[in-house]
Symmetry: C2
Subunit: 190 residues, 2 copies
Amino acid sequence: MEALKKKILEEGVVLSDEVLKVDSFLNHQIDPVLMEHIGTEFARRFAEEKITKVLTIESSGIAPALITARELGVPVIFARKQKSLTLKNDIYVEKVYSFTKQSTNEITISKQFLVSGDRVLIIDDFLARGEASLGLCRLVEKAGATVVGIGIVIEKSFQNGVNKLKEAGFRVESLARIASLHQNQIQFAE
Amino acid sequence: MEALKKKILEEGVVLSDEVLKVDSFLNHQIDPVLMEHIGTEFARRFAEEKITKVLTIESSGIAPALITARELGVPVIFARKQKSLTLKNDIYVEKVYSFTKQSTNEITISKQFLVSGDRVLIIDDFLARGEASLGLCRLVEKAGATVVGIGIVIEKSFQNGVNKLKEAGFRVESLARIASLHQNQIQFAE
């Protein structure tokens, strides 16, 4: 998606060979016009999939997921991240390891919002090692629902998340694919 | 706002005299069509205020704030909640006490996204005792920027937040104002 790549080149800050900061339009400040383009593009790519719910994870996934859901005419759910919970009966819980923070969080969804028969599109802001996306997939499967695809705003193609998701059989659509951040240079894939 | 009140009556769950749960359209699952109406209404009410930034707090404020910002043609920033931080130079930090969770969080914004001269509209999902909104106001003032108003999706008018904000001189616009949750009945103000 050209508008997104342009924005990444103009405003993205390379912090290391592995870390790209896009706080000016996606992860802290958000550009609402770009989110419209992003959500519309995800909806276009998954238009044939008879999606019934969009699922994301707080907080940076909410903006692109909201627009995607509006375009598809379905609700969006955001999974919550929490440290650790006392056992509860009304939620699905999965553990997700964060390499960035080197800690394990639990992510949760209320059982009432994800049911057997749901066809779910997962949207997230970044795909690196795939831990968050895989956790969301496991939540969907616990509910007896189907993951029809995963839409990613920025994929770091040089990490192994995208391969893990594809090997697990999931369709992944990434709007920007970064091949390398080596030597402070943002190189897109292809 | 009639569409919002109708939704609250249909789907809101009264958990106690003080707690209303709206997880089906605002705080966990989100109704994108309702968010369009909400954001458009906030933008209409504050249209004359020459707003330069919309500010909210993760996570439930993001959806209504995004649409408001798009309608006003400005960026949206979401403040982050964190447990406690090592001191950093590039962020503004405020402490916010949560009566619900009975704990104090720090909320933060990067200095680069809020600057002197900014005219800021604060958007939040709920107004109860006003601690979160007041914390956001203090962040704006630390940046030397101006709070031009506070837009609230659901105000619990029977708690003292709205009065605190008005006494501090802030304009508050709430789309639904709840006078009482007594005996499991949702009563709107006026």
